[in-house]
């Protein structure tokens, strides 16, 4: 009898349906959208007026080179390190992953759907920040648009990879939020979220440049200025992706 059963995993149609469902879950959880989309925007609004008047390099202002990279990285980090893991931890805690585990859906499919929805959320947040920055504060586009897009993609992958570690080790949704918040603030503090990294002790400033938040801010800033992106920042982001994928692959569980 069993010879008649082919090992067929659900295909693209199924993944698209799952992505649609995950997106609906996110949209219907209005409170979960406020922080990642509005907090970075608020920070930009409070800094933009002063920052938009100071040309720093290559015709780009402090708004372009410092504030926008920071705001983009915040949007990506909050969604990747706090929101996505809390969803996955909730799914595991409430038994949704367990229920999916008795269907042909694979864990990788759920993770992929979450990643896609998180990317879409990040794009919405980044687009909103860009529109406000361009229309209200006269921000300039990045000098090297292709590099900037590439860095945003790399930063997303790095933050979601970090988020997957949080999702893998957090036993409950609350602990996922707690671990995610701690990770976000530690990475943010070392990456210049509360002032430039120059203010940090040298070893911490150096470390912050290798960790994903600082690496993403610096790499985006370089792309905006049209300068060469430091290899150290790219290596930092790439290493985070690899480490996150390996750790999450080893530790992530359905229940």
């Amino acid at each position: 009898m069993n010879t008649l059963v082919e090992a067929r995993r659900p295909g693209l149609r199924s993944l698209v349906t799952l992505i649609g469902c995950e997106a609906k879950m996110v949209v219907r959880d209005t409170a979960g959208l406020v922080v990642p989309l509005c907090l970075p925007l608020l920070i930009m609004l409070t800094s933009a007026s002063a920052a938009s008047g100071t040309v720093v390099a290559n015709g780009r202002t402090a708004l372009d080179l410092y504030v926008l990279p920071l705001v983009f990285t915040m949007v990506i980090s909050i969604i990747g390190i706090i929101n996505m893991p809390s969803f996955l931890a909730y799914y595991r805690r409430s038994g949704i992953l367990r229920r999916l585990g008795v269907t042909p859906a694979s864990p990788a499919m759920v993770l992929a759907a979450q990643a896609v929805v998180s990317v879409l959320q990040s794009l919405v947040g980044i687009t909103a920040a860009l529109i406000v920055a361009f229309l209200a504060f006269g921000a300039s586009p990045p000098a090297d648009l292709g590099v900037a897009i590439g860095v945003v993609g790399l930063a997303m992958a790095a933050m979601y990879s970090t988020g997957m570690i949080v999702a893998a080790v957090a036993p409950t949704p609350n602990s996922a939020v707690a671990i995610g918040l701690v990770a976000f603030f530690v990475l943010g503090a070392l990456g210049g979220m509360f002032g430039g990294r120059d203010a940090l002790p040298e070893p911490l400033a150096e470390l912050g440049g290798w960790l994903p938040f600082g690496a993403a801010v610096e790499a985006l800033s370089s792309a905006w200025a049209g300068a060469t992106v430091s290899a150290a920042h790219l290596v930092g982001l790439g290493a985070t992706i690899v480490v996150g994928a390996v750790v999450a692959g080893l530790l992530f569980r359905w229940e």
Binding site: M1, N2, T3, V5, E6, A7, R8, R9, P10, R13, S14, T17, L18, C21, K24, M25, R28, D29, S94, G95, I96, R98, R99, G101, V102, T103, P104, A105
Partner: protein
């Protein structure tokens, strides 16, 4: 493997959680097209047995085949032909009934149509209601619909009607009878003797992690020398069968 492969063949299953021996020694054979009930008092090992059969837990000892497939090693193949309704309905709470049905349908190559599924479990009127707005019975019925969305050859139903009112229970029984008429094999965990007597060809009585009796409902009654299956259960196990809270 041949077409005479049983729907379920479990041999000497055992499972412990730290110092608690949940399942001590369970062997079970369910033929294709057969419906077998599993009854036992709380803590008898029913759910752990079902979870090992469904591939959700790895036995400490023994082995199991479902439709000739190893639930762990042949996971991808088995999931296409096995429908599982877990004891509690764990679903995306903010999704609507049709969204959930369409999601689960998408996992299978030849799913039942959405309307047919909703009709089978009588949730057509609630199709636009989100999962968290459904009553307990409606959530349970939706869980059944999802378990059979992929036209399974075998279904495992854990506490099918726990917490349902009598009318809803009969609806569920009708759904199971419909599945049986299609040749689907059924493993039904239940606390209701009336249910297993009506739906099952044979009944396995679990007590303290062991199968202490496996026979037709009439055979169990005759063996225990009692008038009813309820009395037979008490005579065989020395315990009352209590329904778990919904």
């Amino acid at each position: 493997m041949t077409s005479t492969e049983p729907a379920i063949l479990a041999e000497n299953l055992a499972k412990s959680y730290r110092s608690t021996r949940a399942v001590v020694d369970v062997s079970l054979r369910v033929e294709v097209g057969e419906a077998v009930g599993v009854v036992g008092a709380n803590g008898a090992g029913k759910t752990t047995t079902v979870e090992m059969i469904a591939g959700l837990r790895v036995p400490d000892r023994g082995w199991v085949r479902v439709l000739g497939l190893d639930p762990r090693r042949d996971r991808a193949r088995l999931r296409q032909v096995l429908g599982v309704q877990l004891q509690q309905a764990y679903l995306h709470h903010a999704l609507r009934v049709t969204e959930l049905v369409d999601l689960y349908r998408s996992f299978y190559p030849d799913p039942r149509p959405t309307d047919e599924l909703l009709d089978m479990v009588e949730l057509t009127e609630q199709r636009r209601t989100s999962f968290d707005k459904l009553s307990g019975g409606q959530q349970q019925r939706l869980s059944i619909a999802l378990a059979i969305a992929g036209r399974p050859r075998m279904v495992i139903l854990d506490e099918l009607t726990t917490g349902l009112d009598p009318k809803a229970r009969r609806r569920m029984w009708h759904t199971v009878e419909h599945l049986r008429s299609e040749g689907v094999s059924v493993l039904l965990v239940s606390h209701t003797m009336e249910e297993v007597e009506r739906l099952c060809d044979r009944v396995a009585v679990l007590d303290a992690g062991r199968v202490i009796a496996l026979d037709t409902p009439a055979g169990l009654v005759a063996r225990a020398g009692t008038a009813t299956l309820d009395d037979a259960f008490v005579a065989l196990t020395g315990r009352q069968l209590e329904e778990e809270p919904a």
